[in-house]
Symmetry: C2
């Protein structure tokens, strides 16, 4: 069965590539390095995933979090699995700066004045992911169009 990333997520984000289990999206707001993992599942609750899938999703969340922390030199990582509006399972891995517009509040529901990335910035982040993880772990080419 074909898996499609939710249209709202697709519209709000750049598709960067994928890990073994989850696609990786980048929210279109460059002041805040906001990544979203979309695991290939029709389940909606992380805690109800089969054990091994849960472990893999936690693993990808963890390694992505470390990448964000170091690469963007953020002050704090915010993790969240919410899904009240977009029901397709997705996990937020967000790098926060004490100087960002939402700090110390959460970004969800905050009235952001959207500032999208420039194309070469998205390309640079994709390359940083490849350099950090290697292509065995992170695949920058995906055909979920």
């Amino acid at each position: 069965m074909a898996f499609d990333i939710d249209p709202v997520l697709r519209k709000d984000c750049h598709l960067l590539g994928r890990f073994r289990y989850a696609y990786l999206l980048l929210y279109r707001h460059r002041p805040i390095p906001w990544f979203i993992l979309v695991p290939e599942t029709s389940e909606t609750e992380v805690v109800e995933l089969p054990h091994d899938d849960q472990l893999e999703l936690f693993h990808e969340t963890s390694i992505l979090g470390k990448f964000v922390k170091v690469t963007f030199r953020v002050d704090k990582i915010n993790l969240g699995a919410i899904g009240n509006v977009v029901r397709q399972m997705h996990v937020h891995v967000i790098g926060r700066y004490e100087s960002d517009e939402c700090w110390p509040g959460v970004v969800w529901g905050a009235p952001l004045v959207r500032e999208d990335y420039f194309v070469d910035e998205v390309e640079r982040i994709r390359q940083q992911l490849v350099d950090w993880f290697g292509r065995e772990v992170f695949t920058p080419e995906v055909d979920n169009a």
Copy 2:
């Protein structure tokens, strides 16, 4: 070295007991079953915990989430590790109802008119945890006073 739960968390929550790694708190707002895990660590980022501690925290988050989903018959589980204000590591496991006052927004930062539990309600939830997990997994008696 003695581990103390952050005073803000202590004030905002009831201490229910503990799992192997994390203390379990209940946020003082009965319309929303809002649980908080406080792992016994001085680290502040989940993604920077040693591998085994991370796995244990994810495990406790997962089994608690299942308990909340079933016991409170909620419509959605919201998971979050934020820590922008209270830096001591803590993980939110929140049962959400489509009829609750914050839906579909997140609860963090929402202006809640606090409605604390009655004492016997807290006792009942503690007993439900013991019945669900057993005392080998969840310990209702703790001396972190």
